[in-house]
């Protein structure tokens, strides 16, 4: 293997790496796909957590350090990985999630698949803050269209300017608590639409199954009816014989020659702990925004003294995550409800996109609303504060005995919640860099984070709380808990907590203020590309995956074209 030269080396098998693997292997190129985690197929019973009952886990599905979203969550990874530390500067509280498995974080994401709209690529034109992307919606639209058809996403065409239409599969019908939300939102003239998510509510090909509505996408789908990079992109690519898959392989750096061009990558094989080299004509980084930045910063040479692609000093800069806040309510009208299976697809069936004009508000950038509630499967935590709602009914909270069973049934599913996900304003001073002192278990320097929310995000969170209260009450809900105030930044999630971090290798026209061009190609090395969310100039209030997929496909087409023209 060591002697073989690949056409393409792809680092990371999540959304960006999976799409590049699929496109470039299908174009006949010889691809090495290098993944830091192990092989994973949710269709293998040894990997199955889907459809398990809570008692099949000794902790009944409770979260652990290694499974922060619960014992049955499919993602092997987390904010706290064995042997892979990261550090914080000052009072930074950045939370860095890393997936360590084939398909990366696409194994557990919410599958919320929103196109960026025309305004999202030109935010500086709208509010004077941050920067515009070097491309616009019209550049990406053809790729969004193709991604829709290749991967499958349900939704509805609503003709919204900044939430563009797509090639949608039909949406699942709303659940009962979602009907309460719809009525509540309409009372307040807040729009509400079918959610847009990449689960197959209808067949798209003969390889993948059609959703059977267990509501457990976060456990990974054994019939491949939701999108993960492995199921929808990598397995089909592997069938073509053009891809060599290197798992448990932790890339240390991109190797370069005297001219500064990449020659391949060096990686640690986690099984024998030894370091190996791969040779390739083109290196594509898709390790996630911060991991790709880390690899670039660790790729130092005489030609790239401050790290590969970092002549501008911008690698790691403009790191930004989505904003997030949430609130829940008790829905008295759903007390003693009829019990039936309403699992549906994993997560919400309806949502509200950003609906206001920032020019009339005291903060920039918007947020969308994700709706939760209903009759979920009991798992660890179910029954805690079992009859706390008694407080609202003039009855006593607490007690013991068989009456608690009646309370449990009475309040089961009588809950409505909203989570907001919003756009932050990218800041030069929010960044990751190499920690000069700390290394991971393979001796690779780790990242140190420096990140503070600004008043833009805090003021936005304040507005989120007001919106959520109004909507929950209009839906018939009684608000639960205290409204978080200024001392808690209005409930604003910590940076990194929403796991939408982007911006560390942003694209741009000017090599002095950006790391890549509009195709993710490094300004400093023409045969190195980034196809993860590091290239995002701004995050939008949209979950990034659909845009990662579209941009990775676009970059792949560009690579194929440039290779044909022998430019790289």
């Amino acid at each position: 293997m060591a002697e073989q030269e690949y056409d393409i080396i792809i680092v990371g098998s999540g959304a960006g790496g999976g799409m590049a693997t699929y496109q470039l292997a299908n174009a006949g190129l010889k691809v090495a796909l290098v993944e830091a985690g192990g092989y994973y197929d949710p269709a293998a019973d040894e990997n199955r957590t889907q459809l398990r009952n809570p008692w099949e886990s000794p902790r009944r599905g409770a979260s652990t350090r290694r499974r922060p979203f619960g014992d049955y969550n499919a993602c092997i990874g987390g904010w706290d990985l064995d042997g892979e530390p990261y550090t914080q500067k000052g009072d930074t509280e950045f939370m860095w999630w890393r997936g360590r498995m084939l398909g990366g974080r696409t194994n557990h994401w919410g599958r919320i698949s929103l196109r960026f709209g025309p305004l999202d690529f030109k935010r500086k034109d709208v509010d004077g803050l941050g920067d515009n992307w070097p491309i616009g919606y019209e550049d990406v639209k053809p790729y969004y269209d193709k991604v829709d058809k290749l991967i499958g996403v349900f939704g509805s065409n609503e003709g919204l300017y900044n939430d563009p239409d797509g090639f949608f599969l039909p949406a699942p019908k709303p659940r009962l608590h979602e009907l309460f939300y719809i009525d509540g939102a309409r009372k307040l003239n807040v729009p509400v639409y079918p959610a847009r998510k990449s689960m197959l509510t209808k067949r798209i090909n003969d390889e993948r199954g059609v959703c059977y509505y267990c509501g457990q996408c976060s456990r990974a789908c054994s019939i491949h009816a939701d999108f993960s990079s492995s199921t929808a992109l990598i397995y089909p690519a592997l069938k073509g014989g053009q891809v060599d898959l290197y798992t448990n392989s932790m890339v240390r750096e991109v190797t370069t020659d005297e001219s500064g061009k990449a020659t391949g990558v060096s990686y640690i094989n986690k099984e024998d702990k030894k370091e190996y080299q791969l040779k390739g004509r083109i290196v594509i980084l898709a390790a996630s925004a911060c991991s790709s930045a880390r690899i670039l910063l660790n790729s130092k040479s005489d030609h790239h003294e401050s790290g590969l692609g970092n002549s501008s000093g911008h690698v790691g800069r403009y790191l930004h995550d989505s904003t997030g806040a949430s609130r829940a309510a008790f829905l008295p009208e759903l007390m003693d409800r009829d019990i039936y299976n309403e699992d549906g697809v994993g997560g919400m069936h309806v949502y509200t996109p950003w609906w206001l004009e920032n020019s009339t508000l005291d903060f920039p950038r918007g947020y969308h609303l994700e709706i939760g509630g209903g009759m979920g499967m009991p798992s660890y935590g179910f029954g805690f504060a079992a009859n706390q709602y008694n407080d609202y009914l003039g009855e006593r909270v607490g007690g013991y005995g068989n009456g608690l069973r009646d309370d449990i049934r009475r309040f089961y599913g009588a809950r409505l919640s909203i989570a907001c996900r919003g756009e932050s304003v990218p800041q030069f001073d929010n960044y990751c860099e190499l920690d000069p002192e700390v290394v991971d278990e393979w001796g690779i320097p780790v990242l140190r984070f420096n990140y503070q929310w600004t008043d833009y995000e805090i003021d936005q969170a304040k507005h989120m709380q007001e919106s959520m209260e109004a909507l929950l009450e209009a839906s018939g809900g009684i608000l639960l808990g205290e409204k978080p105030g200024a001392n808690r930044k209005y409930g604003l999630a910590k940076p990194g907590e929403i796991i939408h971090e982007v911006g560390t290798t942003r694209m741009g026209l000017d090599p002095k203020t950006s790391v890549t061009n509009q195709f993710g190609q490094l300004h400093d090395a023409s045969n190195v590309f980034v196809v993860d969310a590091g290239t995002f100039v701004s995050q939008a209030d949209k979950n990034p995956t659909w845009t990662i997929l579209a941009l990775s496909w676009r970059a792949s087409d560009y690579i194929i074209e440039q290779m044909k023209q022998q430019n790289i």
Binding site: P58, K149, L169, P170, P172, E342, P378, Y380, G401, N402
Partner: protein, 247 residues
Amino acid sequence: MTKPISNSVAINRRDVLKALMLAPLAGSLLASSGCAPSATSRAVSWTSLPTHYSYARTDAEKQRDAELFAETFFREHELLTLAVLCDIILPSNHENGGALAAGLPDFVEFMAKDRVQYKRPLRDGIAWLDSYALEKFGAKFIDVDEQQQLAICDEIAYPDVQDDALQPGIAFFTLMRNMTLTGYYTTELGFRDLGYQGNTPNIWDGVPEAVLARHGKSYDAEWLAKCVDQTRRDITAEWDDEMNLIT
């Protein structure tokens, strides 16, 4: 320690008492801490939970769980106290069984080891309960009679009680109620008790009509037009150039 164990899946209080009568020397069935069992002591026995699980774990996770199962945290007296409390919170005299049939003491033991932040509150809570029972009735909690146990629970089972001296007991009882209910409703018995219907492949086609009617809700035609026709779910999707689904 000799842990009281029953392999019965749905033991109820009557079975336990019957077992007690038939085997008066089976001391392990009695919640007693060295004293001779009194006629009023509460008998406890519970379904033991598995100590081996097999479900999609990484090697590191398997190793940690094996370590947790190898560890013993609660002393016998503590475990019996937890068992009595669980039994009071969710009694066995119910057709869907109670906390003991659901193996609650084993579950609480595991969770205390898995989430070490529970260790102190549980251990200290038991100590508080015993000292309170001693002060009030002259014996540890499991050695006072059932009426006395319930009298203590009546004092600490309600968080709205303002008595400072009772706050440690109230916090402990609240924790035990949470653990008991979550540990019960995440078993088959709990699923049955709740009437839980999910976690099985199905075709979601909206809220049942009768339920919509009960709550005065309906689907409007415009929204329904955007939703999946489940009779056509298996027909491969195709669109026209205007983004309209045509199959």
